[in-house]
Amino acid sequence: MNSTLLVNIFRFVLLLAVQIIIFNNMNFLGYISPFPYLLFIILYPVNGNKSGLLIASFLLGLIMDMFSNSGGIHTTACLVLAYFRPFIFKFSFGLSYEYQTVKLNDVLTPERFSFILLSVVIHHFTLFILEAFQFSFILDILLRTLLSTVFTLLICITIIYLIKPNKR
């Protein structure tokens, strides 16, 4: 129990640091930037404390907002993702997901892929809608969401593959 807490805290700090120092400076074609920091919310233990996840993702978003001068958009997007996570689990893994312990950081199966994809789409869509807040940019928002989703997805999956913790 304690080790999961430590692992999560470590993941929180590490992902934020990598996001701020490296990925925030990545701009492909001027406006596509990946946000792999949301891996923290994706990889949070399935049966972990839900209010703990909500508070942690609130803090995660808040720190991101502080570093990117964006008001509260990352906070809102993270919260929405954290809240809808159980529903996405149900959608991707079937109703009884809580009993069969789902391990996300493992070989990529269609279920896992659909879970990560849905999470990233929900997060990015909230993020970019709140960022523009004006409907004259609606096409722009859709394009940004789409491209950034693909990009974040690729990086998330790469990271999961790179740091597979339990290789026996």
Binding site: N27, K50, M66, F67, G71, G72, T75, L79, E131, A132
Partner: protein, 274 residues
Amino acid sequence: MQQIFNFIFKNSNRILFLLLLGISLTLTIQSHSFHRSKIISSANFLSGGVYEKVNNINEYLNLKTQNDALAVENAKLKSLLFNKKDTTAIKKLDSLKGVKPSDIVVSKVIHNSYNSHENYLTLNSGELEGVKPDMGVINDLGIIGIVDNTSPRYSTVVSILNIKSQINAKIKKSNHFGSLIWDGKSTGFVQLIDVPRLASIRKGDTIVTGGQSVIFPENIGIGTIANIYTDNKTHYYIINVKLFNDMTNLGHVYIIKSKDREELINLEKKEKNE
């Protein structure tokens, strides 16, 4: 009573979610309104410190280009100096006006953003050097933005690449005024709107800051005219301005402290109160 507690316990997650969502949406909406109500900005100790450390490392990677840019600027200043009639003469202070009207703080961009609709820069000088909100920020090529938030050691700047930014500008040769805005599309271009149709303009004309704002001194370069359109509703010109500055690559900048500023602001406040 029991039922209320039961309800709260059962829905504790949902209530927590709604509470936190409320806070974050408030933060979002506040940051969208133009007034300086942003609570969370990168001008604080933590993020400013991190950005400064990261920038210290990054700086080494483009030392050469920065040096070249500074050398070019030096050469320009030298040529101004040498072409004066008397190079040794020191400018006399105006006995009526006192000291010259603006002062300059040298600063460095430690974090630059240009990929969203609302872009902010973080600078490594703050209140200790006398930086206050609403001061203009320029570099040797042209304008960069306006100071937004300050902390003792850092400050954030609303970049001209921000859809909320609005700066008074004019066409250099004809003195017609307009407002400089950004449409959120390209990092190399901004738009000058509300220029009357009477103005005779051509592609390639220079756009400079106007004298109507307290923030920037007059005649600081912005860019050149790239295209000219007419607005169908208002029949004013919309001008696409190609920036002199490459906003994606900024190093040292200058913050302008206008000496007249306090006086002008006080005067305007008085007028509003009456």
